[in-house]
């Protein structure tokens, strides 16, 4: 596309995203993508840390007990939770067993989308509590 906008075909193209209304589905879709990309980055970071531990440069507790480490874990788990929830919704829509792939409107609606975001927010909050206060759900104090 970029090739078409620039160069000798020079003509303007309207792609001002802030002027375009995105529907709830589109928001989940793009968030699914963002959380997925974050997960990939976290995977690379995690792998680097794992190497560092394996080589004896740092200890596991250096990660789990430090604030940046905890934040990294929170980011990973929170992204994972979102990716999982929105992925679940995506799979339901894709594999809804009805004839002609007719999926109930509810799964596309703001309702289902709000549910995904709500569950994610609650989950992330719980994770943060567990990580930063320690032993949230009856673990050892």
């Amino acid at each position: 596309m970029r090739d078409l906008i620039g160069g000798r075909h020079a003509r303007p193209v309207h792609l001002a995203l802030y002027k375009i209304r995105f529907y709830p589905n589109a928001l989940v879709s793009i968030s699914h993508r963002i959380s997925g990309s974050l997960l990939a980055i976290c995977l690379i970071f995690g792998l680097m840390l794992l190497n560092a531990v394996a080589l004896g440069w740092i200890n596991t507790s250096d990660i789990t007990q430090s604030v940046p480490g905890k934040l990294l874990i929170l980011l990973t788990l929170s992204s994972l939770l979102f990716h999982w929830l929105s992925g679940l919704r995506h799979l339901i829509i894709d594999w809804w067993p009805a004839k002609d792939h007719q999926v109930p409107q509810a799964w596309f609606s703001g309702w289902a989308v709000s549910l995904v975001f709500f569950l994610w927010a609650v989950g992330t909050l719980l994770l943060a509590l567990a990580l930063f206060t320690g032993g949230f759900v009856g673990g050892p104090s």
Partner: protein
């Protein structure tokens, strides 16, 4: 589509005087509706170099809006044969249709419809898997006995399905399309049509297309009336080109007013609504059609129903606060039937009136719908002209579809016959071009011609600054919009469902005044690319020519026949008027007569009898 359509990125050309791009093709087709696409498909598949020149993208053509269906005596629901179809069409035409052409069309119909089905048209189906058919107005079994069921339908989107299917077939065949090219004038040399000049809308550049055959498929001109079911592109561009070239138009007094346009807006509510059981009611709630056509009631021929509605309203039995419309009642029909068989008209009603026809009747009023007249052609689509009483074809020029007058519709067209007309004669014209001797069809390379000075003058006049070249007494505030509005209003008032000498004659000076206005009409938009105001100016010029033809012909025909209803001459007059009327604009306005072809080729003729339904 081809590279040729991708011209939008060109830098805008500056005034067009000398820059003229030339193209060479075997066949040039102007207009990419159903007729143009059907002809293009046949020619392209036969290996001809075809150019399809259209002022809009092909799928925007007005065939897309045809709803009800296409007639063919398939007999899928009740017994039928093409001979009965022919009888109905001859009778529907009020005996003005050429019987050899009607014979040909009705005979071809079953094959043509099956061919469309084969191309992919998603016809609605019967339980046995055959094409679904519905009853339409003016259809009968056994030469006028019981109602026939002859209209093959794709729900109520038949035209849309046919247009898109033909477009798809052309994509597969590789037809070259020049979309958004506005045709201006035919090129004629030694009595032979050799091509045309078109304006590329995106850039304002002029193009000369040379071809061995030019096929006009430019559609109707319903925009000459204020209330019409037509698209804004239906401005009779092909008709006016023909008139400017000194060739005639035929039977232009016959305009079909569709009984059921949405009141106040004009959009079409298909005859299918009545075919499926809908009833017309006046303000008293009476299903009044029984008084006008006791036998077939609401399924009488369109001219009959439109006059009935106009009469009801005239006698104060119209509905609504102003008593100015009639209601189309579908509420007694099954809701499922409406959703399945009439989804499109339900959509239109919901969108434009907010009324769900399942629950409430739709307000309707007759609306200009179809032009029975047009460019006279023979049964092969060849354009005919007349000199010294002798009729002969114009070399290299063909016309098909609504812009042509074969004539199969005569004084009144039956519902479901227009889609048939475009496909049958689209193919017939292509076949004739292919059957011509090979040397006529091979590509020559004539040198680009200088642009016709008259054409250049017109273009420059529209584009000239508002202050120059305008006589002092002219109205400088005039615009294409007000010009078109005045023309439409004038035609609506003076040449509507009912006509008489006084109103028609009163319109003539108005027409002359409009012609004067056209001379001083100026376009304010100075741009070359996508100057739609300039396109509208050309369209106004074309509409004026069509209106002129209509008015002169309507004045001359002192009888009532089919859609042409004269209050002062309420009877059909076969003695004096069983003839076609030819209207010439060049070199000066002339009316001539042409005999109706009463002799079919394979069956006995149908002599004129009184037309009752």
């Amino acid at each position: 589509m081809t590279d040729n359509t991708n011209t939008g990125h060109n830098t805008p050309a500056h005034p067009t005087n000398s820059s003229l791009t030339t193209h060479q093709f075997d066949v040039l087709i102007v207009g990419a509706g159903g007729a143009g696409l059907r002809a293009a498909l046949e020619l392209q598949r036969a290996g001809k170099q075809v150019a399809l020149v259209s002022k809009v993208y092909p799928t925007r053509s007005h065939t897309v809006a045809a709803q009800g269906g296409i007639n063919a005596a398939l007999g899928n629901i009740s017994e039928d044969n093409w001979h009965w179809h022919m009888f109905d069409t001859v009778k529907g035409s009020d005996y003005l249709g050429d019987q050899d052409a009607i014979e040909f069309m009705c005979q071809q119909a079953p094959r043509i419809v099956r061919e469309l089905e084969h191309f992919g048209v998603p016809f609605s189906r019967l339980d046995d898997g055959k094409i679904y058919q519905r009853p339409f107005g003016g259809q009968s079994q056994h030469f006028g006995q019981s109602q026939a069921t002859r209209t093959c339908a794709v729900a109520d989107r038949t035209g849309h399905a046919i247009l898109h299917t033909l477009y798809q077939q052309n994509l597969a065949a590789g037809t070259q399309t020049f979309s958004e090219f506005f045709s201006l004038d035919l090129l004629i040399e030694d009595q032979q049509v050799t091509g045309l000049v078109a304006l590329e809308i995106a850039t304002g550049q002029l193009h000369q297309f040379n071809a061995n055959a030019v096929l006009l498929a430019t559609g109707g001109a319903g925009q000459i009336y204020r209330t019409n079911t037509n698209a804004s592109i239906n401005t009779g561009d092909g008709l006016a080109m023909v008139l400017r070239a000194g060739l005639p138009l035929m039977d232009m007094e016959f305009w079909q007013f569709h009984p059921t346009g949405v009141a106040g807006r004009g959009m079409l509510i298909s005859e299918a609504a009545r075919g499926e059981g809908g009833l017309l009611r006046n303000s008293l709630g009476e299903a009044f059609m029984v008084n006008y056509a006791p036998k077939v009631k609401d399924l009488a021929s369109r001219d009959v129903v439109s006059r009935a509605i106009a009469t009801e309203i005239h006698h104060g039995r119209g509905c609504g606060p102003n008593k100015d419309y009639i209601e189309l009642d579908l509420t007694h029909l099954d809701a499922e039937l409406i959703k399945q068989k009439l989804p499109g008209i339900r959509d239109i009603s919901l969108t434009f009136t907010g009324i769900d026809p399942i629950e409430q009747p739709i307000p309707i009023h007759p609306s200009c719908h179809y032009m029975m007249g047009g460019i006279p052609t023979n049964i092969h689509g060849q354009v005919m002209t007349q000199t010294n009483g002798e009729n002969y074809p114009v070399a290299g020029l063909y016309a098909i579809g609504e812009c042509a007058c074969v004539s199969v519709h005569g004084a009144n067209r039956l519902g479901g016959n227009s889609l048939l007309d475009i496909v049958v004669f689209g193919k017939a014209a292509a076949d004739h071009i292919l059957s011509r001797p090979a040397e006529v069809c091979t590509t020559k390379t004539p040198a680009p011609k200088a642009i016709n000075p008259a054409l250049l003058k017109r273009m420059q006049a529209f584009q000239a600054s508002r202050d120059t070249e305008i006589p002092n007494d002219a109205n400088n505030d005039d615009s294409v919009v007000s010009f078109k509005r005045d023309l439409q209003q004038m035609m609506q008032r003076h040449c509507g469902v009912f006509r008489d000498q006084a109103t028609l004659a009163a319109a003539k000076p108005m027409l002359e005044q409009l012609a004067q206005r056209l001379k001083t009409l100026r376009v304010q938009d100075p741009a070359q690319g996508f100057n739609l105001e300039r396109i509208q100016a050309f369209e106004c010029e074309n509409l004026l020519a069509v209106a002129w033809a209509t008015l002169e012909s309507a004045l001359a025909r002192t009888e009532s026949r089919g859609a042409h209803a004269r209050d002062d001459y309420p009877e059909r007059d076969d003695q004096a008027w069983l003839v076609h009327l030819l209207f010439f604009m060049q070199p000066h306005i002339t009316l001539k007569q042409k005999p109706v072809q009463m002799q079919p080729k394979t069956v006995a003729p149908f002599p004129p009898i009184k037309r009752v339904y």
